[in-house]
């Protein structure tokens, strides 16, 4: 179980802008998509859960343990590349090292490397890979070693369409609790039974189901009967069901839809 309780994070200490503001989120036996524009706090949210960013207030916990004190919890994984830089080894060695550190077998990860056609990366160091290859290596690491909680930051960024679909298929089949951050809408229709949150300027809005997305509309201002209100620095927006100004599902990403409504 993953839980954030009233978590706030500010850039540059107490006087900076909010990266996350009073975020509450609980994920238990479910798969969640957090969707938001660039710079909305999606990555910070995952980093707080991984203990890589410390919350200025509130608490982040995994399986009931505060992430600041958690130790040896091998069932949590992530695709963030920065956590796999323990030393400057090749991809093959990194897979073997982390499989050992996770108390698992490297076979699954190596099989995924071949399944994604990435065998040429095995003998290379991380910095020698393209950004798409780096992302895929992170994705593979996050899906391997029998995790029960997977935290994925923009897993489809810089990944070609063929690999996206394969990746999506593997993610859907996973039995783990998963949180995926993304700013893209185009693959959401394949995750209809997933829970959906929006994140704008560090504030989280939801919860919805991805299957609801085709019926959700974004409106400027607070519309009577709306299901959620987003108070942002560029104005107030509201989400309505079944009718409204702009259908959210029609947008390619959240950056463009706010431009359209505004």
């Amino acid at each position: 179980m993953v839980e954030l309780s009233n978590v706030s994070v500010r850039y540059d200490g107490r006087n900076g802008n909010y990266a996350l503001e009073n975020v509450n989120l609980k994920v238990h036996n479910e798969k969640v998509v957090v969707i938001g524009p660039n710079g909305s706090g999606k990555t910070t949210l995952l980093k707080v859960l991984l203990g890589l960013v410390q919350a200025d207030s509130g608490q982040a916990s995994i399986n009931g343990v505060d992430v600041r004190t958690i130790r040896g919890e091998t069932a949590v994984s992530t695709n963030l590349a920065e956590v796999y830089r323990l030393m400057g080894n090749t991809v093959r060695d990194i897979i073997r090292l982390y499989s050992d550190l996770k108390g698992s077998d490297s076979g699954e990860a190596e099989e995924l490397v071949y399944r994604f056609g990435l065998e040429a990366t095995l003998g290379k160091k991380i910095h020698q890979l393209s950004s798409g290859e780096q992302k895929m290596v992170g994705n593979i690491m996050s899906l391997s070693f029998s995790p029960s909680i997977i935290l994925m930051d923009e897993p489809f960024d810089n990944v070609d369409q063929g690999r996206r679909l394969k990746l999506l298929d593997i993610i859907k089949k996973s039995s783990a609790d998963i949180i995926i951050n993304t700013h893209e809408f185009d693959l959401l229709n394949r995750l209809e039974d997933w829970t959906l949150y929006f994140i704008i300027e560090g504030k989280i809005f939801g919860k919805f189901l991805v299957s609801q997305l085709k019926n959700l509309y974004l409106n400027r201002g607070e519309v009577p009967g709306c299901v959620s209100v987003m108070d942002t620095s560029f104005g107030k927006f509201s989400i309505t069901e079944n009718s409204g100004a702009v259908p959210i599902a029609a947008a390619r990403n959240l950056n463009s839809i706010f431009d359209e409504v505004a």
């Binding site: 991984l50 203990g51 919890e73 091998t74 830089r85 030393m87 090292l97 550190l101 996770k102």
Partner: protein, 266 residues
């Protein structure tokens, strides 16, 4: 397993071989062929060779330290993650990587012994083998441990408590101290208390003794002054190593994940 992978990572590091061995061989060549080698007897030649060997040994160790410092710096987020979400414990990290660095120190030390023997013997006409080669290797192993712990302490302290803009200076502190102590001993004789107390003097003095077979004189540049007690040098070096070990254990448990991009900003 982590020790094996770190050893592999260090051994495959071209910069370490280039600076830690290649550049040191260049200086050994300078010491044997370019600078004033005017020794006439084998004993004089061996002492002159031992001085060069001791300084080059110290500086090559400090180059290992810089390599380790960069690797620890780049790993700050990985360590914070690994201590939470893998079975890696801070103590295992320190022990394993210290062991790997020590072995690399020994391997590089072996190369330095070989090149010292070849260059100085060919220049002098005498076969100038180290008197206690196994102790020379042992000293390189200890130097590797000391340099690893020093770099861990410096980098994690900077990472946790200071801005990272100074990181490119901090990783070179062991080298700066090595050059400072190493070359100042050739020019300005240091008081014996400083020589005993400084690990950057203990290391070359002990390396000198393993190569020449004799205790190091206080004034190494001209071989004058009282002979130094090797046991005090050993105790001093071990004390510093133990102190750094305690500090490294304390700091690594508290490592803060920082963006490595901070260190790249000008």
């Amino acid at each position: 397993m982590i020790a094996r992978f770190y050893l592999k990572s260090l051994v495959s590091n071209r910069a370490l071989w280039g600076w830690g061995v290649g550049f040191m061989v260049f200086w050994l060549f300078m010491g044997s062929y370019i600078f004033g080698f005017n020794m006439t007897t084998k004993i004089e030649s061996l002492e002159y060779t031992s001085v060069w060997f001791s300084l080059i040994g110290l500086i090559s160790g400090s180059i290992i330290s810089t390599t380790v410092a960069y690797s620890v710096y780049y790993a700050n987020s990985s360590l914070a993650y690994s201590f939470r979400f893998t079975k890696l414990k801070p103590s295992a990290y320190i022990f394993n990587l210290m062991g790997s660095t020590s072995v690399v120190g020994g391997i590089i030390g072996a190369f330095i012994i070989v090149f010292t023997v070849i260059l100085f013997s060919s220049r002098s006409g005498y076969v100038l083998l180290p008197v206690y080669p196994y102790l020379s290797i042992a000293m390189f192993l200890v130097t590797g441990m000391f340099m690893f712990l020093l770099s861990v302490v410096l980098v994690i302290f900077a990472n946790n408590y200071t801005g990272l803009k100074s990181i490119s200076f901090i990783v070179f502190i062991p080298q700066l101290l090595s050059y400072l102590f190493g070359f100042s001993e050739l020019g300005i004789p240091l008081p014996s208390a400083v020589v005993y107390a400084s690990p950057f003097s203990d290391i070359p003095r002990l390396l000198y003794q393993t190569y020449s077979g004799n205790a190091s004189p206080l004034n190494m540049s001209n071989g004058t002054g009282p002979l130094l007690n090797p046991y005090i040098l050993i105790v001093s070096l071990l004390f510093w190593t133990a102190l750094l070990f305690v500090l490294a254990m304390f700091l690594v448990r508290r490592i803060k994940p920082r963006s490595i991009e901070e260190g790249r900003q000008v």
